[in-house]
């Protein structure tokens, strides 16, 4: 019935076999090992920059932060500088915590209708928790992969690997981040499939990156624990890529090319998808602006003059009545210019 995740799942499956068969059967190692990764990276960089510049080109006419705490005041009430930041420093802190701790998501509650017609709102931290695990695992995996692109491998990276593998499961050691990424991706996926309202709002483009990232993690783990690919050749390939002297060593195997192809697809897909929230959050006007709108004037670059109903027009229409009621007027009726202002009235009065 719901073909959205099936389509995404099948797409990811097909992509894998494309790369697997393309290299194993057709020997297109250069295509999948060099050309596509370069192209994907180019698309990623150009697309990303283009998208962000597109946002940046749009004006910010009004300062509209969402205020989530007590405002600045002169009355001694403690300002909530984090949720209602009125200075640049406090805005930076708010943004920083949004980005590294997903603070807004941490507020999440779940609404329930209870016995006796009561509505309750309980803390719901699982989305926050697994989103956080997902992102940090992803980050760790990316950083760990730098070992394939750097020679010699920096000390800091080796330290990270030690920490990441402290659980010492099996041989070679299990990296926590890889497993966590897979688990979190599966959680986010199951959430999309089984929670009614999340399923209802999900598009195919919400399932696709999850399958893709799940696929990346899965093929990665397979290479490490099951098929034991030839790390030395792979490093030869990746170093060739970064040094711009691409070489395609023999015997790397289709599984690796599948993995690399997934990553290439992710990179190329990124700028055209919701994954751009990575860049967008920095530009979100409800979060990245100070709440000092009454204290410091914000300038709208396209502010333009508008037609207003001036006091003079108003007095012209109501002068007699105003005078009769004893309200002050600018021009007394005797001195009034001859032409009587006849404004049509709007429709009947509203209650």
């Amino acid at each position: 019935m719901n073909n959205k995740y099936m389509i995404s799942f099948i797409a990811v499956f097909v992509l894998f076999f494309l790369a697997y068969l393309g290299t194993e059967a057709l020997g297109l190692d250069v295509l999948f090992g060099v050309l596509i990764p370069y192209a994907a990276l180019a698309v990623f960089i150009v697309g990303f920059v283009y998208k962000v510049m597109g946002w940046a080109r749009s004006a910010v006419p009004f300062r509209i932060p969402t205020t989530c705490g007590q405002q600045e005041n002169q009355l001694g009430f403690r300002q909530n500088t984090l949720d209602c930041p009125s200075t640049a420093g406090a805005v930076v802190l708010r943004m920083f915590l949004e980005i590294v701790t997903f603070r807004s998501l941490f507020r999440n509650t779940r609404m329930n209708f209870r016995e006796g017609h009561k509505v309750s709102y309980n803390l719901e931290i699982f989305l926050w928790l697994f989103a956080l695990i997902f992102h940090y695992a992803f980050l760790t995996v990316i950083v760990r992969h730098l070992r394939f692109f750097l020679e010699p491998v920096p000390k800091a990276l080796q330290l990270l690997e030690t920490v990441d593998s402290f659980m010492q499961i099996g041989l070679p050691v299990l990296y926590l981040s890889g497993a966590a990424l897979l688990v979190a991706a599966v959680f986010l996926l199951l959430r999309r499939i089984f929670i009614g309202n999340v399923r209802y709002i999900s598009l195919a483009s919400d399932f696709f990156p999850l399958f893709l990232i799940g696929g990346i993690a899965f093929t990665g783990i397979l290479m490490r624990y099951v098929t034991k690919v030839d790390i030395v050749s792979i490093k030869q390939l990746t170093m060739g890529l970064v040094t711009l002297h691409p070489t395609v060593p023999e015997g790397i195997g289709g599984l690796f090319y599948g993995h690399l192809f997934f990553v290439s697809i992710l990179l190329a897909y990124f700028p055209f998808s919701k994954l751009m929230h990575l860049g967008g959050i920095f530009l979100s006007p409800t979060r990245n602006l100070p709440t000092d709108t009454r204290a410091t004037r914000h300038v709208n670059p396209w502010n333009y003059p508008v037609e207003t109903h001036t006091y003079e027009e108003y007095e012209d229409e109501f002068r007699e009545k105003m005078v009769e009621a004893g309200l002050p007027v600018e021009i007394m009726p005797e001195e009034q210019p001859a032409e009587e202002a006849e404004a049509d009235s709007p429709s009947e009065e509203k209650e």
Binding site: M1, K4, K51, W55, R57, A59, V60, P61, F62, R63, I64, T66, T67, C68, Q70, Q74, L75, R78, S104, L105, R107, T109, M111, F113, H117, L127, A131, G196, N197, V198, Y200, I201, A204, F272, H277, I281, S284, P285, T286, D292, T293, R294, T296, R297, N303, E307, T308, H309, Y311, Y314, E317, F318, K321, M322, A325, P328, D344, P346, E349, K350
Partner: protein
């Protein structure tokens, strides 16, 4: 309200189960229902302010008599707004559909209609955005979440954009701060381009443009109404609280929503202002003036378009300038304060003809308003109380067990939380906040904001107000709360029927009604009744 089911049945019928059979895009056409939808804007009102494509039409008709090139108008309007508003563009692109906002909207909670989940409300526009403005969307079509604009889509937009009160609750919970209110604002602007508005917004806009206030009260009648309150106050307290109008050279211009001049229980809040100003005049020589030209704090232009908001708002500074006051004091109103706090200075400033607001009685300099030069009355009153400048007898409010409804706009568009609570605690002895997840930045809308407080959409209003009412019910049952205080004129109009329906026995009051009931006016008679003419409890014994 007679055609609403009883509240038990209403509540039991809310169904949050999500349809599994169909994709949301396949649920068209929408059934535009009576009780949910509002009536179309009166063409005379649209004409008066020059809004495009005025005509007589009805959302319940098949034919909406759209201008021939309506699709082109919408497409171009969309494009223009993507360039003019970064918020719109970014919010179109970055939603991950995580669903964190889904059950945060009072309309989803109260109706169970999945398209009232903020994310889906936004997707109504986003789907068209993908089709019209992104290559991938155009290429992939429906599987990429894109769909072309059509009459059916337009009807869906109209129906759901007028089921959002622009309250911003969703934006608090979104990991990227995506504000569906902002998207609704853009959507309504687009609809306005082809003459699709509702009368409850369009006619107040036209009235406000002409007479200075939403109700179309002409200057002499406005003055009459305040004089009528003056008489009432004199009957109750023996003190004459006659205000000044359009006084040139006054220190302060006072602007409040006209709803308070017109309908109970807002009128009592208005009497509260008059009494407070009289007290301050008598004791400290406060020189404050009202204006019939700028006799509206509210701004239904905000629910129409940015341009209309600016056109109506312009009166505030224009009048302050003409009268030569030092700064402006604003009454209790919700969206009025969002406009003042986040838009006014940018739109109609700089207000360099005004001075940084200084409370002439306490000397407090309101640095937080130093550019816009407009102060909220609860900031002003809280300051007076802190400096012990008011003579208050809170025991006159002892019969009230009070809770406070944070209005959406002062909460999430300003951050005004402590000021009103401080004032309330100092003028009454029994105050109980509602549960934490339903107040302050997480406050629930009254269900009638953003122009939806019409009569014909009562079912929608009772549904949207349900989470608020339910939280009131909690403190009503726990602490015997019988008074719901608020600082918003729409609340004062919308909450009484909401309480009557969901939590009978709870009255609605403005904060300054309670201030006035506690305030001892110089030279007053022994107070026997409150402002509503009800006998004071300590006298009953």
């Amino acid at each position: 309200m007679s055609d609403l089911p009883n509240r038990e049945a209403f509540f039991s019928n809310i169904d949050h189960s999500i349809p599994t059979a169909k994709d949301w895009m396949d649920t068209l056409p929408v059934d535009i229902r009576k009780g949910i939808a509002c009536y179309a804007g009166n063409p005379k009102s649209l004409e008066y302010v020059g809004l495009p494509n005025p005509r007589t039409w009805s959302c319940f008709d098949e034919d909406w008599q759209l201008p021939e090139n309506w699709q082109q108008i919408l497409h171009e309007g969309f494009k223009e707004r993507l360039e003019k508003f970064r918020s719109f563009k970014v919010f179109m692109d970055i939603c991950v559909r995580c669903g964190a906002c889904a059950d945060k909207c009072h309309f989803f909670i109260g109706t169970g209609d999945p398209k009232n989940m903020p994310v889906l409300r936004a997707e109504l526009l986003r789907s068209v955005y993908r089709n019209d403005f992104t290559r991938v969307g155009k290429l992939l079509g429906k599987i990429g979440g894109a769909r072309p604009m059509s009459l059916e889509v337009l009807r869906e937009w109209w129906y759901y954009l007028f089921q959002c009160t622009e309250c911003r609750r969703c934006s608090v919970f979104c990991p990227y701060g995506i504000d569906t209110a902002e998207i609704t604002i853009m959507g309504r602007e687009l609809l306005n381009l082809i003459g699709l508005n509702i009368d409850w917004i369009a006619t107040p806009v036209a009235n406000c443009y002409r007479t200075g206030n939403h109700l179309g009260i002409q200057p002499h009648a406005f003055k009459d109404m305040l004089e009528f309150f003056v008489e009432d106050i004199e009957d109750i307290t023996g003190v004459n609280c006659m205000p000044q109008f359009q006084k040139k050279g006054a220190d302060i211009l006072f602007i409040t929503p006209s709803g308070d001049v017109f309908a109970d229980p807002g009128t009592y809040t208005c009497m509260g202002y008059l009494m407070l100003f009289q007290f301050l005049k008598e004791k400290y020589g406060l020189d404050i003036t009202w204006s019939t030209y700028a006799s509206e704090g509210g701004n239904f232009g905000f629910f129409t378009s940015h341009e209309m908001m600016k056109r109506l708002n312009a009166k505030m500074y224009a009048e302050a300038k003409r009268l030569g006051v030092k700064w402006i004091l604003g009454g209790e109103c919700g969206h009025m304060w969002r406009v003042i706090n986040q838009y006014m200075d940018t739109m109609n400033g700089p207000a360099d003809f005004l001075e940084v607001p200084v409370n002439p009685i306490t000397g407090t300099r309101f640095e937080n308003a130093r550019s816009t030069k407009m102060v909220h009355i609860t900031e002003f009153t809280a300051d007076l109380i802190q400096h012990n400048k008011l003579d208050l007898d809170p025991s006159r409010n002892d019969h009230l067990k009070v809770t406070f409804h944070d209005s959406c706009n002062p909460s999430r568009g300003m951050g005004l939380f402590e000021e009103p609570r401080y004032v309330i605690r100092n003028v009454c002895n029994h105050f109980y906040d509602m549960p934490r997840n339903t107040i302050r930045e997480s406050t629930f809308c009254c269900g009638s904001g953003a122009g939806l407080n019409a009569g014909e959409d009562m079912e929608l209003r009772m549904a949207g107000g349900l989470p608020r009412a339910n939280a009131v019910k909690t403190v009503h049952e726990q602490h015997g709360v019988n008074t719901l205080a608020c600082i918003c004129a729409i609340d004062r109009a919308a909450l009484p029927p909401l309480m009557e329906y969901w939590v009978p026995g709870v009255e609605v009051t403005g904060v300054h009604e309670m201030v006035a009931n506690a305030l001892n006016l110089p030279g007053q008679n022994e107070r026997e009744t409150d402002l509503r003419g009800e006998e004071l409890p300590q006298l009953e014994e």
